[in-house]
């Protein structure tokens, strides 16, 4: 688990070997983030019509990625 000023990234390995990554930023400003591996599962910024994930996680946002099994 890594942490930023007000954001956190957590990963879980699921039973089939895939890796679930969730990043959450509860600050009022964007925070830098390294794009996780895998396909984008959910990005709340998309629902809000905001910019996609490009090196930063939007303010008050959560994204989830799923990396397939090796």
């Amino acid at each position: 688990m890594r942490r930023a000023r007000a954001g956190a990234v957590a990963r879980w390995r699921l039973a089939d070997g895939s890796v679930l990554t969730i990043a959450c930023n509860l600050a009022r400003e964007p925070c830098p983030i390294e794009r996780p591996d895998g396909r984008l599962l959910f990005d709340i910024a998309r629902r809000r019509g905001r910019a996609r994930l490009h090196g930063r996680l939007e303010r008050l946002a959560t994204v989830a990625f799923l990396e397939p099994p090796e």
Partner: protein, 164 residues
């Protein structure tokens, strides 16, 4: 079990106010996404899914001596409360044993945010059911079983501390 709020937290506030009355709606949406996509079992408190603003008041159904004792105990407890909302006094706290206190706690969808919030819950729960649920049994975090816990703390104006 993972929840953002439950009956203890809401019902023990003097006026039963929910998280929606206390935080930015976008922050709440981000927290909902985190809650519903984490492997832990999510607990959705009634009304959360429709952005309900209905207070969940502390209510009881006591009779006779128990009701009288409860009323005295509640009165004594609220006299010592601090941090009431501006302009409110302990006298305004609803009587837990009054039927209308219970009736006032039936959750209603929020007219402004209800539809949008339901759509968010539907999307996240559908993702959870289709993609995550089949693979959660036996999932691990940090190479350890998910029965371990993560503890997050934050300091006002400082950096948050996350421990696992």
């Amino acid at each position: 079990m993972l929840f953002l709020q439950n009956h203890d937290q809401i019902g023990n506030r003097p006026f039963g106010d929910r998280l929606i009355e206390r935080v930015d709606p976008e922050a709440l949406e981000a927290a909902i996404a985190l809650q519903l996509l984490c492997p832990q079992i999510p607990l959705i408190f009634m009304g959360e899914e429709s952005a309900s603003r209905t207070p969940f008041l502390y209510f009881t159904d006591h009779h006779g001596e128990l009701a009288e004792g409860r009323a005295r105990g509640t009165a004594a407890r609220v006299r010592g409360l601090r941090g009431l909302p501006a302009g409110e006094t302990a006298d305004a706290i609803p009587d837990p044993n009054a039927p209308q206190t219970f009736e006032r706690s039936r959750p209603a969808a929020d007219g402004e945010q209800g539809t949008r919030r339901r759509a968010l819950y539907s999307e996240l729960l559908a993702l959870r059911a289709a993609i995550l649920m089949p693979h959660l049994d036996g999932a691990t975090c940090h190479g350890r079983p998910c029965g371990g816990h993560v503890q997050a703390r934050s300091r006002a104006g400082g950096w948050p501390t996350v421990r696992s």
